[in-house]
């Protein structure tokens, strides 16, 4: 489904991706873990074409992501951003239904609103938030609205960038369960980026660890604790000492 091969990306003198190879099969929930600043967000933004790699190839279903009809390509994706990235000037329901109000997936306004409210209900929000502005919502609610927007057009592929960052443990658990349910229910292919090991265990089918610009280890979530990789061990146990330097 999604294949990255020898992907390199450098910002100024900072080589963030140094030959990333990754394969995500259809219908799988892949979680990418790794320290801060290791290029996890750059990796998924490269797949979406938001960042252009310096070299290497990225394909979805065998087609180069930078060739062909961009609208049709992006219509297959949904994305939950780290800070939700809701549009401040639009009420919640128009954020959720953004894609359904314009472009190739455009629907009548009433229908788009009904779908938005249904998606809000799906992520545990009642219809009365529909007409509020994003600034009037708490961080957890904004995250759930972002999640509702990501799934509104029922995409085949969903990316989650740090879905639980900044949330309390209970709200983080709610979001984790929602993501798992949605991915399973929709049969979507998912890539999630997170530092949160509780999220990893709740969301992942497979895990890839990104370190020093390369995928250091890939395996099933059940094999994570017995990976035998000292980098993975240090990361999942949150140890200050080990091969990963604390000062980076």
């Amino acid at each position: 489904m999604i294949d990255l091969s020898a992907v390199h990306k450098t910002f100024g003198t900072n080589a963030v991706l140094r030959g990333v190879d990754l394969h995500v099969p259809k219908g799988e929930s892949m979680v990418v873990i790794g320290g801060s600043g290791t290029g996890k967000s750059v990796l998924i933004k490269s797949v979406l074409g938001l960042v252009q790699p310096d070299s290497g190839t990225i394909t979805v279903d065998g087609k180069d992501v930078n060739k062909g009809d961009r609208d049709a390509f992006l219509a297959r994706f949904g994305m939950l951003f780290q800070g939700a990235a809701l549009f401040d000037s639009l009420p919640v329901w128009q954020n959720v239904a953004f894609r359904l109000l314009r472009g190739s997936l455009k629907k009548p306004k009433d229908e788009a609103r009904a779908i938005a409210i249904e998606k809000l209900r799906r992520v545990g929000l009642t219809g009365d938030v529909a007409d509020r502005l994003p600034a009037e919502l708490s961080g957890g609610m904004q995250k759930r609205v972002g999640l509702a927007r990501a799934i509104a057009a029922e995409p085949e592929i969903i990316f989650f960038d740090e879905p639980t960052t900044g949330l309390d443990p209970i709200m983080a658990g709610v979001i984790n369960d929602l993501i798992r349910e949605i991915v399973t229910e929709m049969g979507a292919t998912a890539i999630t980026i997170t530092h949160d090991m509780t999220s990893v265990r709740a969301i992942a089918d497979k895990i890839a660890m990104l370190h020093a610009g390369k995928i250091r280890w890939t395996g099933a979530v059940a094999d994570m604790d017995t990976s035998g990789d000292p980098y993975v061990d240090q990361f999942i146990h949150g140890r200050a000492t080990g091969p990963i330097e604390a000062v980076r």
């Binding site: 933004k45 979406l48 074409g49 938001l50 961009r70 609208d71 992006l74 219509a75 994706f77 949904g78 994305m79 951003f81 780290q82 800070g83 990235a85 809701l86 549009f87 401040d88 953004f98 894609r99 314009r102 472009g103 190739s104 997936l105 927007r149």
Partner: protein, 257 residues
Amino acid sequence: MNALASIGASALGLLAAIGRLALFTGQTLSHLVRPPFFGREFGNALIQIGYFSLPVVGLTAFFTGGALALQIYSGGARFSAEAVVPQIVAIGMVRELGPVLVGLMIAARVTSSIAAEIATMKVTEQIDALVTLSTHPMKYLTLPRVLAATLVMPILVAVGDIIGIYGGFLVSTERLDFNAAAYLQNTADFLTRLDIISSLVKGAVFGFIAALMGCYYGMNSERGAMGVGRATKSSVVAAAILILAANFLLTEAFFSA
């Protein structure tokens, strides 16, 4: 040698900046002929840039027109030429002060607002979100604002011209004992069609510059609060300088013959 290298680097930097701005302008204009078009965004921009700028435009023009009448009266008195107040207020407001002051007020109010809004959208990943939702940011954010400012600015300038002349009229008739009917007659007789056309063309050009600078600096903002602040400040400075430079070139084009 170091000094030469420094001058060369500055010159290259300037050329690169001009190139980037020219490319951005071309990209913006290219969306004029490529659907889809975002009518609601355009309508919102018209209201934000046009309707909500009316108070500041009106007040600026009114006080400037009044002050201009007082200055011309006191200056004209040195040559026993107090009677030219209506003509000079009219020509001063319509040809220069109306368009330039409205342009600068729009740069202060609208350019800064556009730059801050788009820069904040950029640092909070809202621009990236637009792309993932199959919406081109230039088409959704830049084109509606630039088009709205270009179309609405001539109207704002016309309003500014009229209110400015009215400010001069009020001061002249209430403070300087001018005859109201004669003042209005002199104003109408003295203004030509070219004066009015030049004023409106200047308005359209200044509107284009003001909105374009806001969008350009917003879209190219660096990360963080400092990046947003820098983008906002740079956009207003660039818009003000370009408006004044364009004003000189347009005045030269309209009136140098």
